[in-house]
Amino acid sequence: MNALVPTRDGVRRFLSAYAIVAVLAAVFLLAVLISDAFLQPKYLFNVIRQIAPVGIAAVGVTFVMILGGVDLSIGAIISLSAVVSAVLMNGEAANLPMAIGVTCLVGMAAGAFNGIVLAFSRVSPFILTLATGIAILGITQIFSGGTARGIVSPGFREFFNYRIEGIVPVLSLAFLAAVLVGVLIQKRTLFGQYVFLTGSNRRAAILSGIPVRGVTIMAYTLSGLFGALGGLALLARSGVSSTMSGQGLEFQILAAIVLGGTTFEGGRGGVVGTLAGVLVLVIAFNIVNISGLPYHLQMVVMGLIIIAASAMYGQINARSQ
């Protein structure tokens, strides 16, 4: 038998792994049909820049979900990071490294808290992170007194919004860099392997000596770190506007990750899938916006696109099993 003829199984596995790419292609096709703006590089990079905060944070949450958990506090961590970093910067360029460093530490601390509680107990990650999210929202409000205090350092926003060759905003490159780092962690570190193994079969992982608790704490800390970076990206993109700028983003992040093939059960998926899921989501939002539909119908259509993309993915996957 010719060894190069693809087996049925092989085709199925190929389809399953690249299902999200098919979905992305379909959504992109739809987008191009509605407006040729989507063919212009400047606009496309704009779109990528729009979703940078969500996308960067989603990289971190992907690890948590491969582990079989979930992080609903990510939106609050993003808000907190945006406010804390702005306050620390206090309008001085000299404060920039310190502000970024401390913000990352704050995000990691929040993530570590989630991770430690989850590693040493059996509570549901859904409820725990929901609760810590609310608590963090409260902390953000207490810290800021209700107004979004803080003044961004000069140069910070200009740097990230600068367009290379007039086309590529630095922020979108930062997003792609975050994805790259995520892929490296996933595929080339021991931690990455451990996350997959623990996610697919926790018991077997424990039995084979994997430090499951440590992996859990690390995954959530990573999520917190990327959340902080997402908050910085949000600050770069839109300046200081409110104490709740990250609110509601957790659902967009979750939707993007699940669209990308990482399921709630854990053990499968990956950062590349998340990238595709993020792109599907932002293209969907822009499709409805640019098509000129009345505002409220836009929400309906976005919901339908999410359902349709998810169904398509579910069908492709079901067929490959």
């Binding site: 059996r122 409820i127 409000q141 669209l259 409220h296 359902i307």
Partner: protein, 315 residues
């Protein structure tokens, strides 16, 4: 036959929430004179009614290991539609109420069918449905519309010998649904299918049909919650349902149910609802700043779920 492995857990041993509730209640009675008034207690009951109704429906879905994020918007849609209709035909409270509940159940059937036939993940599907419903509500109106009939307002705000009517309704429904869960084939199958789907399937239980039914129940109860909410608000506020879905999930899980399915009870969910309302009430009475309240609410939920952990590892 593997019936033995199907024995459902009805929340026995998960009554930790009642202990926590009693502790909180006792503490408040001792240290807060403002709390002891009959009015305050009646207020707590009245404020629990809407969430309680929605949480009953959510319990059925969670028992099957699924989740329904659209219940908040179903309630919101009912608020808007019922007030709009009752403004024109105030005498038709009962028919409108019945129609709304059927609408809620119909949406639930759609949810359940999509999950079953398209194999969609319930979280994604109901999140998409949330967006769709929200968009529909806003297409219908962008401002408060209509007026709830006096009958509906009476249901939401009125009292019988000092006990709020809505609380009486809630209690009756809790008892009814708890009985359904523990004493009927349907309830037995539901818990079995949620707790151990493979064994359940081998025993011939139709999991797919149960899924659709559970979502229909969730939709119906969300509509009921929406009716009481409409009575409470008095008008069709379009954003009325926002956030209720998450609160209902928190209440169910606080009550000891497992998100993976197979364990939980309606009565314990009620305790979860009361606990949430109690926390808000206490924080208000303490005069705690709203921001600190937010932090405290999150912290209290963390402590409560740590104290209420499942004794077995979740699936």
């Amino acid at each position: 036959m593997a019936v033995g492995t199907l024995r459902p857990r009805l929340g026995a041993g998960q009554s930790g929430i009642w202990l926590i509730l009693a502790a909180g209640f006792g503490f408040a009675l001792l240290f807060l004179p403002d709390f002891r008034t009959f009015e305050n207690l009646a207020n707590i009951l009245r404020q629990s009614a809407v969430l309680g109704l929605i949480a009953i429906g959510q319990t059925f879905v969670i028992l099957l290991g699924m989740i329904d994020l659209s219940v908040g918007m179903i309630a919101g849609l009912v608020v808007v539609l019922s007030c709009w209709l009752l403004d024109i035909y105030p005498a038709l409270t009962l028919p409108v109420a019945a129609a709304m509940i059927m609408l809620g159940m119909a949406i639930g059937v759609v949810n359940g069918s999509l999950v079953r036939w398209l194999k969609l993940h319930p979280l994604i599907l109901t999140f998409g449905m949330l967006s769709v419903l929200q968009g529909l509500i806003f297409t219908f109106t962008d401002r408060s519309v209509g007026r709830a009939s006096d009958a509906l307002q009476q249901l939401a705000n009125g009292e019988l010998f000092g006990v709020p009517l809505s609380a009486i309704l809630l209690l009756l429904l809790v008892l009814l649904t708890q009985a359904i869960l523990s004493r009927t084939h349907f309830g037995f199958h539901l818990l079995a299918a949620g707790g151990n789907p493979d064994s359940a399937r081998k025993a011939g239980i139709n999991a797919g049909g149960l899924q659709v039914t559970a979502f229909a129940i969730a939709g119906g109860f969300a509509a009921a919650g929406g009716l009481v909410l409409a009575g409470r608000l008095g008008t069709g506020y379009p954003l009325a349902g926002t956030g209720l879905e998450l609160d209902s999930i928190v209440a169910v899980v606080l009550g000891g149910a497992a998100l993976g399915g197979g364990r939980g009870s309606i009565v314990n969910t009620l305790a979860g609802v009361l606990a949430l309302t109690l926390v808000s009430n206490l924080l208000n009475l303490f005069g705690v700043s709203a921001f600190v309240q937010m932090f405290a609410k999150g912290a209290i939920v963390v402590v409560a779920i740590l104290a209420n952990q499942p004794r077995r590892a979740a699936r």
